[in-house]
Structure formats: C-alpha cells, structure tokens
C-alpha cells in the first residue's frame, strides 16, 4: 500500500545518564506523510527528533534512511538531505535573505540558483518584503517563517519540526499554522512534527504517534487516535475528559449497551456481555439542553439528566461537569450558558450520539478474552 519508508527505526533506545528515555521497537516514517508525534513534556519527543536528524546516536538499535543504515561516517551526507526547524528560530545575525540562503550556501549551490529558490520560498511564506531586513529585528512569527523557509528551500527529503509554534502567541499561530499546513500538503514533504499541542496534530497530521514515558502508546490515523484512543492514558492526552467504567449489557451491530453506575449508555464498538469496559467521551461531543427539551433531539441516542456540579471557564467556552450517575464533562459556548441559564446546581439533560462514546482499549475483565472492536 505504501512505498518504502523514508526512515525506519528498529529496536531503538536512547539513554541519558544511564536512564532510558526512549524505547521504540519499530517506527517508520512513510514517504510523503505528515506524522505528528504528540506527548506530554519529557516524554522523549525531542530526543526522537534529534535521533531522526542524526544529531544523536541511539544507545541501541538501528536507524535506516531510505533503507540504508546511517553510521557516523555518513551522518553529514544524510543530514544534508534533511531539514529541521526548532522551537526557537535560531537565525544567524544577517539579513532575512542571507538566512534563508544559509543551507544552500553550505552545500555550495550556485548563487543564481540559490537566489531564485530563496525568492520563491520568501514569497511562499509571505515574507518577501522582509528580504533585506536584519533577522534580529523580526517579530517571533516572522522569524519562524524565515526558519521554515530556510528549511524548505533545501527541498528536504525529510522535514523535522520540533515544537515550531510553541513560542508564538495565539494570533500568530493561527495565521502560521494554516499557511504551513497548506504548503506541506501541496508539496507532500515527508514531515515529522513534534508537539505537545494536540490541535497542531489535528491541523497537520496524516498519522499521529502518541509518545508517553518514552514509548509509543498508539500510532494510527489522526482521526482514529482522537476518536478511538487505545488506552486511558492516550485518551486523557488527546482530550477525552469523561472516562467511566461499566459492564456490557448487550452488543450488536457495532453498538454496545454499557451500564455505568446504573445508567445504560449506547456506545460505538463491540464487546462481550458481562465484560467490564471503559468508555470515553469527548467534552465537545456532549450537548446540554433544558431537562424538558425532548423535541430538539434527533439522532442522539444517549440522553442523561443530572445536576451541574462545577463550571469553569475554558476558552473559548465553559467546561461543565454534570453528575448523571458519574461525572460527565461537556464544553459549551458562552452563549449556551446564558441561553440555558446554566448555573451550578441546575438540572440539565446531556445528549450525545452513540458514535461519540467509545470503548477505550481492551476490555478490563480477563475471563472473556474478547477485545472490543476498535
């Protein structure tokens, strides 16, 4: 289905001061894909990227680049087929144009060719008018555009992005992320994006690897990672806020009836009756309505009524916890809060589709041996 991977890691482990910080039995970066590596701080993401850039050597295991093992003697040659952008732009004290040309200069590219390519990438990142300005006078967003242009002008076979938006303010991120996503999709540059921000992964990635504690906990298509996390840990990291345990009453045609704290719920997935399972629900998939509001519901299969136990602001809306037998988390807009008159202690009905509730990971009881279909 896919061509040979650009990079293949086998049995790779990385250590700092005798402590293993990364262990990857197998990880491939496929040609022309955008792979996001997400995980909390200290999970080994940046170490992984430095291994991929051949800036560090693994304590064990093998890294193949286009099928060939990379050894110390080849590292420079291989590194010249790769480009990397860091959280900080790390520009040289020179003009914008000179900065973008740096990598080409180090490779001895002819000046005329270099200038044409630099001009092209300055235009692509909307910084052409800045060409003759000094880099040290740039804003954070402009500087990061220069750093991205400096990487892409090299026409890399692999682009490595290490938290490239983490130091930018929100409005700057919101203009740069779509610009870069468009360029990467159009050019189909094989990219590994490391980020702790799951919304960046959603904006860019074909596949997502969730790295927690130095191990890949899930590697799957982006939509599946966010909708069907493989474990509670992954679910929490990708933003599933309601995680509850219940017993399977019945399972048929991909829909499973689970009883949680006495409340029956229809959930996507397959499981054996009697099995203990965990169910995850994303807060943005839960709608709140007045307790009598039956008419507004259409295909939503789960409707649970309860009392609001807490309300906290969470930009751009409000995070509401409703006790429906178990704590169910919903995010609602500020408009809904005022229209529905939501206050702590009020009674509301929470509504969500069966497809919004997912079984997380394998079943909990060991006697069945069945695995819910994910």
């Amino acid at each position: 289905m896919t061509a040979d991977p650009v990079v293949a890691l086998t049995g790779v482990s990385a250590r700092y001061g005798g402590v293993e910080v990364l262990r990857l039995p197998a990880l491939d970066v496929r040609a022309r894909e955008i792979l996001a590596v997400i995980g909390p701080n200290g999970s080994g993401k940046s170490t992984l990227l430095r291994l991929l850039a051949f800036l560090e050597r693994p304590a064990a295991g093998e890294i193949r680049f286009h099928g060939r093992p990379v050894d110390a003697a080849h590292a420079l040659a291989e590194r010249r087929r790769i480009a990397m952008v860091f959280q900080q732009p790390l520009l040289a004290d020179a003009t914008v144009g000179e900065n973008v040309a740096l990598g080409l200069r180090f490779r001895g590219a002819p000046v005329a060719e270099s200038e044409a390519r630099v001009a092209h990438w300055l235009r692509r990142f909307n910084i052409a008018p800045l060409r003759d300005q000094r880099a040290r006078g740039l804003s954070g967003g402009e500087a990061q555009r220069v750093a991205l242009a400096r990487a892409l002008v090299l026409d890399p076979e692999l682009l490595l992005l290490d938290e490239p938006f983490a130091s930018l303010d929100q409005p700057t991120r919101e203009t740069l992320i779509p610009d870069l996503a468009m360029i990467l999709r159009e050019r189909r540059v094989t990219t590994v994006l490391v980020t702790h921000d799951r919304s960046e992964a959603q904006a860019f990635a074909d596949r997502v690897a969730v790295l927690i504690g130095g191990r890949v906990r899930q590697l799957d298509d982006t939509a599946r990672v966010f909708q069907a996390p493989a474990s509670e840990e992954v679910a929490r990291f990708v933003g599933v806020e309601t995680i509850a345990t219940g017993r399977v009453l019945a399972s048929d045609a991909g829909v499973t009836l689970v009883e949680i704290a006495g409340v029956p719920l229809e959930v996507a997935g397959r499981a054996r009756p009697g099995e203990l399972v965990r169910v995850g629900i994303r807060p943005e998939d839960v709608t709140l309505m007045p307790p009598a509001g039956r008419r507004a519901v259409s295909s939503a299969r789960n409707r649970l009524t309860g009392t609001i136990t807490s309300m906290t602001p969470k930009a751009p809306g409000t995070r509401v916890v409703v006790a429906v037998g178990f704590p169910l988390v919903a995010t609602v807009t500020l408009r809904s809060v005022s229209e529905l008159g939501l206050v702590q202690g009020a009674t509301v009905t929470a509504v969500f589709k069966a497809s919004a509730a997912h079984l997380i990971g394998p079943g909990l009881s060991l006697d069945t041996g069945a695995r819910p279909g994910l």
């Binding site: 001061g17 430095r50 850039a53 800036l55 420079l76 590194r79 010249r80 790769i82 480009a83 990397m84 860091f86 900080q88 790390l90 740096l102 990598g103 180090f106 490779r107 400096r150 990487a151 090299l154 490595l160």
Partner: protein
C-alpha cells in the same frame, strides 16, 4: 640596562600562550561538552598546576625532561636537549598557565547555546565547521580572556622555570628571574625598572582585555 630578559620573557610567554591555546581548547571543549568516565579526575588534574607548589611541579618536570628522564633521554637520542634551554622555560610557563585558559574557555563553551550548533548541523555543516563558525565565534571573548590571563601568568612564571630552565643570564634568565637576580646583587634601580616594565605590560593587557571583551555588549 640589559633588556634581554624582557625580550626572552615576551618570546616565552607568547610561545607558551600559543601552546596552551592549541592544547587547552580541545580539553576545554571536552570538559564543556562530553560526559565520560574520569571527567572529574581530568578537571582536578587541570587545576593541579594552580595549587601545587611551583617547585614541586618543576621537580617532576625536571625528572621527566632531565637528561636521565624518559623524555630527556629520548630527545638526547636524536641530539636534542630540553632542560635548561629556553624551550624548557616555554614548557614551564605553559604548565603554569594552561589551567587559566582551560577554565575560562570551558566556561565560555558552556554558555554557547547547543541549539545554535544543532541548527548549524541541520543546515549541513560538518563538526569541524560548526566549531569554527558557531562555537568559537560565540565563545571567543572567554577564550581571549583566558589567553590574556594565561599570557600574563606565563610572563610572571618563576618557580617552575627556575627548576627546569635555570637562571642562565643571556640564555634562560627571564624577566622575573632577572628581577630576583638584581635584588640579590643589590642593584635596586635595575630591579625597579624591570618590575615597572612587568607591571606596565600586565596592566595594559588586562585593561585592554576589559575594553575588548565589553566592546559588543
């Protein structure tokens, strides 16, 4: 007044500074960057010449390079002599001053943002080129400060020099040794003049260093 000791001291101190730069920078880089077994030991060894009595250092150096020492004999086999020549004074001055260069350069290398080096690597620079184009330019003030301190220390080196190069007028009598000699001979005017020259050189260098090192800040 015989100014030979002044010229000899300048020549010895310059040669010693060159030698400490060549030998000291790799050690400083190693201490600033690498984590290896025996690193603590190496750091201790580096500081040793600053804290050991110069005569002790001179004694051991003489044991090694003297006509019965391993290096002395090896050199004698090819017709060379090191002990009690001005080269022995260079060696003595280098040993006495190399710690100042290493500690200063190490501190300088430690402040260099590793990410800048990594960015240069990912842009396609070789290790050698990263050192010359990123690491050294960012740490040059600390390296220069270390070199100036090492030069001043080399200019004033007395104990080790006396042990391994002797105090031969017109051959190995450096400025500090000449001052000592003049005082012993009760030629206080000459001693005074030579001492003033030594103070002058060091003050000009250290003052100049503070100007240069602050230039860009």
């Amino acid at each position: 007044m015989d100014l030979f000791p002044l010229w000899l001291s300048l020549r010895v101190a310059l040669s010693a500074t060159a030698l400490t730069l060549v030998l000291g920078i790799p050690v400083a880089l190693l201490l600033a960057r690498a984590r290896f077994a025996g690193r603590g030991l190496l750091e201790a060894v580096v500081v040793l010449p600053l804290v050991l009595p110069p005569t002790v250092l001179g004694y051991y150096l003489l044991v090694v390079i003297g006509s019965h020492g391993p290096i002395g004999r090896a050199l004698a086999a090819v017709g060379l002599e090191l002990a009690f020549t001005w080269w022995a004074a260079v060696l003595a001055a280098s040993i006495g001053s190399v710690a100042l260069l290493i500690k200063s350069a190490q501190a300088g290398f430690e402040t260099v943002d590793r990410q800048l080096e990594q960015a240069a690597r990912t842009l396609g620079r070789s290790e050698w080129s990263v050192f010359w184009s990123v690491t050294l330019p960012l740490a040059w003030r600390a390296v220069l400060a270390g070199a100036v301190l090492a030069f001043c220390r080399a200019l004033g080196e007395f104990g080790i020099t006396l042990m391994v190069a002797g105090n031969i007028p017109g051959r190995t009598q450096t400025l500090p040794l000449a001052i000592y000699d003049r005082v012993q001979a009760a030629q206080m005017d000459e001693a005074h003049a030579l001492a003033l020259i030594a103070v002058g050189i060091v003050v000009v260098l250290v003052f100049g260093l503070s100007r240069v090192a602050r230039l860009r800040y």
